[in-house]
C-alpha cells in the first residue's frame, strides 16, 4: 500500500472550480457552433471565475488558520484566498473586455479556456509552498499567456509578441529554475519554511546566488526593470485584453508570491534582499517613467507605466514589514482595476480605428464618447496617484511602510518619479480631450456597436478604482487579516 498524502478538497476548491470550468468551456466549444460559441464560452468563463472567487471568499471567512494542502506543497491561508479573489475579479473584467474582440472568433472557446488557465496558474503560483510548486505554477500561467499573446494568429504583431514573450519568458523561467536548484543545493530543502530553517548552516555563496537568481526570475514576471525589456513589445503586440491580463493579474501573482516567498524562505537574508529590491525599485521607477516619456503608442505607454508601477509595488516588499504587506495588497487592488480599465479603453479605440492606438488616435475620444473619455482620464489621473482613486491610498501606505523601515530616501525617489510620470499620464488625458487632428482617423466601417460587456468592465474598474479611496477601513481590515500570517523580518 502506497502512503498517499491526505488531500484537503475543500481547500483546493478554487483550483478545482477553475479546472472544471476549463474543461466545460472546451466541451462547450465542441458542441456549440456559430456565434453562440462565443457567448457560451464567455458565460461559462464568467461563471467559473465567479465560482472560484466565491469559493475563495468562503474559505477566507470560514477558516483563519493557514494550513498545507497536498502534503504541504501548497498553502491555504487568507493571503492566498484574498489574492484568489483579486485574480478572479481581474479575470472577470478581462473576459468582459475580451467578449467582442473581433478576431478569431472560431478559436474563441480556446481563448476563454486559456484565460481561465492563466488565472488558475496564477492562483496556484501564489499559494506555492515549495520550490517545485512555485516553478510549476509559473510555467502553468506563463505557457497559457504565451499562447494567448499569439491567439490572433492572423496578426503578425501578435505572433511576434507571443514569440518574444516565449523566448524572454523562458529565459526568465530558466534563471528561476537554476536559482531554485542552487538553493536546493545549498540547503537540501525545497519547502520554503525548511529553507529558512536550513539556511543558517548552508553554503552562503550558493544560497545567495540562488536567491539572486530567484529574484531575477520573479522580476521578469513582475516586469521590474532591468528585467522588463519584453514588456513594451509584448503588451503592444498582444490583443489588448490580454495585455490587460498581463499588466494586472501577472503583476498581482508575481508580487504576492515574491512577498510570501522572500519573507518565508529567507528571513536570515532579509537585509540583503530588501536592499536588492530597493535597487530594483529605483531602476524600475527610472526606466519605466523615463521610457514612457518617449512613447507615442498608448499601449507602449501603459507598458512603461506598468514597469514604473512594478517599482512602486516593490517598495512595500522592500520595506519588509507588516505594514508593507498591507500596502502591497492594498495597492494591487486599485492598480489591477485601473490597468484593466485603461486597456479596455484602448481595446475599444482599437476596434474603432482598426489600427494601433497612438496618442493621435486618442484625440477627440473625450468629446465623442464623454463616458469613455472621462473614464480614461480617471484611470490616468489615478495612475498618478491623485485622489479620489485608491492608488493615492496605496502610495500613502507604501510610503508609510518605507517610513517605518526608516527609508525616507526611497520615499523621496518615489515622489520625484511620480512627478515625472505626470508628464505622460497627462499626455494621454490631453490627447483624449484634444481635437482630432486634420489627418482625422475616420473610424473604419462606422462606429462599432455599443459593447455592453466592455462598458460593464469599465464601470467596474471605475467603481473599484474610486471605491478603494473611500472604503479604506473595511478593506484594510480584510487585508490585515490576510497578510498578518507571514513572518516579516522587520
Amino acid at each position: 500500500m502506497i502512503d498517499t498524502p491526505t488531500i484537503d478538497w475543500a481547500g483546493l476548491s478554487p483550483y478545482l472550480v477553475l479546472v472544471v470550468g476549463i474543461a466545460a468551456i472546451m466541451l462547450a466549444a465542441v458542441f456549440v457552433r456559430g456565434p453562440a460559441r462565443n457567448a457560451a464560452g464567455a458565460v461559462l468563463a464568467l461563471a467559473t471565475l465567479a465560482g472560484a472567487a466565491a469559493a475563495a471568499i468562503v474559505l477566507y471567512t470560514k477558516d483563519e488558520t493557514p494550513r498545507g494542502l497536498i502534503a504541504d506543497a501548497l498553502v491555504r491561508d487568507r493571503l492566498a484566498d484574498l489574492t484568489h479573489v483579486i485574480l478572479c475579479v481581474t479575470g472577470i473584467l478581462v473576459v468582459l473586455t475580451f467578449f467582442r474582440e473581433r478576431d478569431s472568433v472560431e478559436r474563441r472557446g480556446d481563448s476563454y479556456a486559456l484565460v481561465l488557465s492563466a488565472i488558475g496558474g496564477m492562483a496556484f503560483f501564489i499559494a506555492a509552498n515549495n520550490l517545485i510548486t512555485l516553478f510549476l505554477g509559473l510555467e502553468w500561467f506563463s505557457i497559457s499567456l504565451y499562447i494567448l499573446c499569439a491567439i490572433t494568429v492572423d496578426r503578425s504583431a501578435a505572433l511576434e509578441s507571443g514569440l518574444k514573450y516565449l523566448i524572454v519568458g523562458s529565459f526568465g523561467s530558466g534563471i528561476l529554475l537554476f536559482g531554485s536548484a542552487l538553493v536546493f543545493g545549498a540547503t537540501g530543502e525545497v519547502s520554503f519554511s525548511a529553507i529558512a530553517e536550513a539556511s543558517p548552516s548552508a553554503d552562503t555563496a550558493l544560497l545567495v546566488t540562488g536567491l539572486a537568481m530567484l529574484i531575477v526570475g520573479l522580476g521578469f514576471k513582475a516586469s521590474a526593470a532591468p528585467f522588463h525589456q519584453w514588456t513594451p513589445d509584448v503588451y503592444e503586440g498582444a490583443p489588448s485584453p490580454i495585455s490587460a491580463l498581463m499588466a494586472a493579474a501577472t503583476k498581482v501573482a508575481a508580487l504576492v508570491l515574491m512577498l510570501r516567498f522572500l519573507t518565508t524562505a529567507f528571513p536570515e537574508d532579509a537585509e540583503l534582499w530588501t536592499i536588492t529590491l530597493s535597487v530594483l525599485v529605483c531602476v524600475s521607477l527610472a526606466w519605466g517613467n523615463l521610457g514612457a516619456l518617449a512613447q507615442r503608442n498608448v499601449k507602449r505607454i501603459l507598458a512603461y507605466s506598468s514597469i514604473s508601477h512594478a517599482g512602486f509595488l516593490l517598495m512595500p516588499i522592500a520595506a519588509g514589514n507588516e505594514l508593507g504587506g498591507t500596502a502591497l495588497l492594498f495597492y494591487l487592488i486599485p492598480y489591477a482595476a485601473l490597468s484593466v480599465g485603461a486597456f479596455a479603453i484602448v481595446t475599444l479605440r482599437e476596434r474603432e480605428l482598426r489600427q494601433p492606438v497612438t496618442l493621435e488616435g486618442m484625440a477627440g475620444l473625450g468629446w465623442e464618447r464623454p463616458f469613455h473619455g472621462a473614464a480614461m482620464a480617471v484611470f490616468m489621473l489615478g495612475f498618478i496617484g491623485l485622489p479620489p482613486t485608491g492608488i493615492f491610498i496605496g502610495k500613502f501606505y507604501a510610503f508609510s511602510a518605507l517610513y517605518e523601515r526608516g527609508w525616507v530616501w526611497l520615499m523621496i525617489i518615489g515622489a520625484v518619479f511620480t512627478a515625472v510620470s505626470i508628464a505622460y499620464y497627462l499626455g494621454i488625458v490631453r490627447a483624449v480631450y484634444s481635437r482630432p487632428s486634420r489627418l482625422a482617423l475616420a473610424p473604419a466601417g462606422g462606429s462599432p456597436p455599443r459593447d455592453l460587456a466592455l462598458d460593464v468592465a469599465i464601470v467596474a474598474a471605475l467603481v473599484v478604482g474610486v471605491g478603494t479611496f473611500f472604503a479604506v477601513d473595511p478593506l484594510v481590515n480584510v487585508i490585515e487579516d490576510a497578510v498578518s500570517s507571514l513572518p516579516y523580518p522587520f
Binding site: 489621473l381 485622489p387 520625484v416 511620480t418 484594510v476
Partner: protein, 482 residues
Amino acid sequence: MLTTWLIFMPMVGALLIWFLPLRSLVQAGGLALLVILAELALWVGAAANFDYGAAGLQYETTSVWFEQLGVSYKVGLYDFSLWLAGLTIGVSVAAIAYGLWVGRERPRAYFGLMLFLAGATIGVFSAQDLLVFYAFFEAMLIPLYVLIGIWGGPNARAATIKFVVYTMVGSLLMLVAIVAFGLQKGTFDLTQIGTSDSLAIFLGFAIAFAIKAPVWPFHGWLPDAYREAPAEVSAMLSGVVSKTAAYGFLFIAISHFPGPTEDMRDVILTLASIGLVYGALLAFRQPDFRGVVSYSSLSQMCLIVIGLFAVNDSGLNGGLLQMVNHGLISAALFLLAGCVERRTATGDMALLGGMAKGRPILATVLIVVGVIALAVPGSSAFAGEFLVLNGVFDRGWGWAVVGAVAIVLAAMYMLRAISAALHEEQGPAVHDRQRDLRPAELGAILPLVAVLLFLSFWPAGITDHSFDNQPADAVSTQFESP
C-alpha cells in the same frame, strides 16, 4: 455637518451638471450659478451663527477613514478659515457668473470643473486631518489642469504642464513630510498632532507651499499659467488657490513647527523680500495688463508670507487681512483684464489706451480697484499692508523698509497699467464702438469691489473676528485654546 455641506455641495453640483442632460450654456451655467449662490447663502448662515468669542474648531465633522494609521475625515472651520472659505465662495460666484456671461464652449464640462475647484478649495481651508488636507490640495490641481489646458490661450499646453509639474513636485515632497509627521505622532489629526522640531519635515511642507503661493524663486510656473488661463480661471488661481498656500504656511508650517519656523525665519523673510521687490519690478516692466497683475500677485503673496512669518499679532492679522484683500483685488483685476481683452482682443498695453473715453463705468471700476490695490491710505489693502509692516518691524526694521519700498513700486506699476489702458492716446486696438462694461460683467465684478470698499471702512470686521483676537497665542497653541 455644515462644513461637509460647504465642501460637497459644489461637488455634487458638478456631478449634476455632468450627468444631467443639460442642453445649453444657459442651463449648465445657470445651474452652476444657482449652486454657488446657494453655497454663498449657506456660508452667510455659517458666518452669522459662528461663535466668534469661542476658541477652537466649529461646525466640526469627524468620521474614521482608516483606523490603522490614525487617519480620519475631519473637517471644521476656525474663525480665520471661515473668512478664507467666504473668499473662495465669493470669488467663485464672480468667476462662474463671468464665465456664463462670456459663454465658454462645452459648458457642462467647464462649469462642472469650476464648481469642483470651488469645493476642493473649501476642502483645503476646512480640512483638519493631514491626509484630508493633502487630498483636497491635490484635488484642486485636476480641474485647474483641465480648465487652463482646454479653455486657455494658444500656449496653454506648455503652461499647464509647467504648472502641474511644479506644484506636484512640491506636493509630493509634502506627502513624504505628511507620512513622516503623522507616523511620528501616531495620528494625522491636526488638532491632536501637536508640534514637531524636525526641520526636514517643516521644509517638506514649506517648499510645497512656497511653490503653490508662489514665493520667489519658485514662481517659474506663474506668468505662463496666469496669462494663458481664461480670465476667470486666473481669478480663481490667483485670488483663491494661491491663498491655500498662504493658509498652509499659517495653519501647518508655522503653527505646528514653531522651532523650525524660528530657525528658518530669516531665510524665508529674505526670499519673500526678494520676491516682493522682484515681482513689483517685473510688474512694472510687463508689456501686457495680465502680466502686471500676475507679477503683482507674486509680489503680494510674498508680502503675505512676510506678515505670517513675523508670527506676532500684527503680522498674522495683517497677513490674514491681506489674503482676503488680495484675493478680492486680483480676482477683480483679472476679470477686468478679461473684459478689456474681450473688447480689444489684446492685453498688450502698447495697443491699448484711451479706453476711459466713452466708457465711464469701466474706468471707474478699474480705477477704484487699482487704487485699493496700490494701498492708498484708507483702503483695506493699506490696513493689511500696514499691519504686515508693523508686525515685521518687530523682527528687524530692515524687512519693513523693503516692504515700504515695495509699496511705492506697487503704486508705480498699478498706475502705469491703469493709465496705459484707460488714458493716453487711443490705442490701435481701441475703437469707439467697443462698449462699456455690460450689466452682467458689472454684476460679476461689483460685489467684489463692494466687499473691498466695505473692508476699507471696517478692516476690523476681519481682524477682530479672527484668531480669537489673540493671533500669536492662537498660533502657538495650534488654534485650540489660548
